[in-house]
């Protein structure tokens, strides 16, 4: 699998809500591998990559959270100045729209691991591969 699963969770922007979601995942032995939050003053969307998406989906639903799963791409870039820029330039040069991106909490190797979200994921993967940008599969990215 060239893509990995990202879980997006709707949360109200209130005190302790983020702690509740993370606590729920923790209690169920689900590890957060990467995380970012998009927010407005009233609500936010918590986007996470987890080591057990299926279990998370079930647990979140049972606890009344609304969640959506989307495919994202995990890309390795060299953890040196300009490393990320190089990968992004490939996308820009090939007219690939990157919706958003964020970093993994820990590294799988010496390189930095980034999560990239595209509207056209297949085309993006194709371009990245042709330009020798290293895409990491879920086994490596999630340390499974």
């Amino acid at each position: 699998m060239k893509t990995i699963s990202q879980v997006s969770i709707f949360i109200e922007n209130t005190k302790g809500r983020l702690a509740n979601v993370c606590g729920l995942l923790g209690d169920n032995n689900i590890n957060i591998k990467a995380l970012t939050i998009a927010e407005t003053p009233e609500f936010g969307i918590l986007r996470v990559v987890l080591n057990d998406t299926e279990k998370a989906k079930k647990v979140l639903k049972e606890n009344g959270f609304i969640a959506k799963i989307a495919p994202v791409v995990a890309v390795e870039v060299s953890d040196t100045p300009g490393g990320l820029a190089k990968a992004l330039k490939v996308l820009a040069d090939n007219d690939i729209n990157l919706e958003y991106m964020y970093g993994f909490v820990e590294k799988a190797s010496e390189k930095a691991l980034m999560v990239l979200k595209f509207d056209n994921v297949e085309k993006a993967i194709d371009i990245l591969q042709k330009n020798n940008v290293s895409i990491v599969d879920d086994k490596v990215a999630l340390g499974l």
Partner: protein, 434 residues
């Protein structure tokens, strides 16, 4: 199916004669047996001899809900408590709860009108009915239960709660009818989806939904989501409980069983009758009850009435769906707002289930603010912030144009708003108005 054709399809004249005969009798009975009413009559300088036909009803005093509260527990009863076979209590949000009693004859009456109602909704002898109203002090469960028993239906007394078990009961016993609140049936549908059960495959063909106001738009949603025919039942414990009025399969109003419950529609401010078809407060007189007969009881429900014969052949008058409550209506910046209007607006927005709450607030020295909390639904949740903001804006536009007032819309997490196994708490008024 028409349960009692002689009454339900009676000529207007015959029905009026019956109502007149019963009113004369009940007024004398109440005057002789209820000190509270006797005093009310004396105050107006009238006696039972002034009441000769149903047209004289306007001479009689109104009974506001406060009369029941003030005479807690049995002060408004027209019979000794030892003649009362059953008691029901509805919780009061302020002061004393409301207590009502039924003699054996009253229970017989209740079974009769509830049986008529189930038949009117499309039920018949031999149908299996899942009754998912609260059993106990609340009149919903037992009222439908007595009616189903009278009709000859097979009863599943499921009561409220334990939603997963409700769904299993449906799957295993295949009831054709379900009776519960309209918000609970939608909650059941959501739970079915969560369990991977398609609500459209449910065995329920007929729904008897009541005890909270709901719109035609919500009815369409229930029909579509569960592939069933949702009908509206009306009742209030003060008058009898469920079975005061019921929609037939034509669903063009609720047939009120006016041989027992005589309806008037009045302007809640002037107390004068409003013309046929115009909305006003529903006032009911119980024509045959023994334990706690009420004269011109102010229901606080806003409805319109029509006396035209229905497509189904019934001649008894029809009430519109409840358009609001005289005490639910909130006045925001001089504009009357009913929760049902918000519901109507919400349903215009694709995908938004009508689960919402209104919060009215006023900051010191500033204008009233109306905030509408809307639960995010799986159908419209996207992981793009902009898309969610767009949905919020669409909801706001729909509400603003419906009520003619600018509101704030706030998206909240699913299943966080109070509901649904009882009545929904739709309005929270934080203004300090007193």
């Amino acid at each position: 199916m028409i349960y009692n054709e002689a009454i339900e399809c009676a000529s207007r004249e015959n029905l009026k004669n019956l109502q007149s005969e019963r009113l004369v009798k009940v007024v004398k009975y109440i005057y002789d047996n209820s000190p509270v009413y006797k005093q009310k009559f004396n105050k107006l300088g009238i006696t039972p001899t002034d009441i000769k036909s149903i047209d004289d009803i306007t001479k009689l005093p109104f009974t506001p809900k406060e009369d029941l509260r003030d005479s807690y527990p049995f002060g408004l009863f027209s019979t000794d408590i030892k003649n009362v076979a059953e008691i029901h209590v509805s919780s009061g949000t302020t002061g004393n709860p409301t207590v009502v009693g039924y003699t054996k004859r009253d229970l017989n009456l209740w079974a009769n009108v509830a049986a008529r109602s189930i038949a009117c909704a499309g039920g018949k002898r031999g149908d299996i009915i899942q009754i998912s109203y609260g059993y106990g002090l609340f009149t919903g469960g037992l009222g439908l239960h007595y009616g189903a028993l009278r009709l000859g239906a097979t009863i599943i007394p499921a009561a409220t709660g334990q939603t997963k078990r409700q769904i299993k009961l449906m799957q295993d016993f295949k009831p054709r009818i379900i009776a519960c609140t309209p918000s609970y049936i939608l909650y059941l549908a959501e739970e079915m989806k969560a369990l991977g059960v398609d609500p459209r495959t449910s065995s329920w063909e007929v729904g008897i939904f009541g005890s909270e106001p709901w719109s035609i738009a919500m009815r369409d949603t229930i029909d579509k989501t569960l592939n069933m025919k949702a009908t509206d039942i009306y009742g209030l414990s003060e008058i009898c409980g469920p079975g005061v009025a019921q929609e037939c399969t034509a669903r063009e109003g609720l047939h009120i069983w006016s041989d027992f419950f005589y309806p008037e529609i009045i302007d809640p401010v002037t107390n004068q009758p409003v013309p046929e078809g115009q909305p006003g407060e529903l006032v009911i007189t119980t024509l045959t009850k023994q334990a706690i007969p009420l004269i011109r009881y102010r229901t606080r429900d806003i409805v319109a009435i029509t006396y035209e014969t229905c497509k189904c052949g019934r001649t008894v008058p029809r009430l519109s769906k409840i358009k609001g409550r005289t005490d639910d209506m909130i006045v925001v910046r001089g504009i009357n707002v009913f929760p049902t209007q918000i519901e109507h607006a919400l349903l215009q927005v694709d995908g938004a289930l009508p689960n919402y709450q209104l919060i009215v607030d006023r900051e010191d020295g500033s204008l009233d603010k109306l905030e509408v909390l809307v639960e995010v639904d799986e159908k419209f949740f996207t992981d793009e912030l902009q898309a969610l903001e767009n949905i919020k804006a669409t909801i706001k536009r729909a509400i603003d144009s419906t009520i003619g007032l600018g509101v704030n819309v706030r998206l909240v997490e699913p299943k966080t708003l109070a509901r649904t196994e009882g009545k929904s708490k739709r309005v929270i008024d934080k203004r300090n108005l007193h």
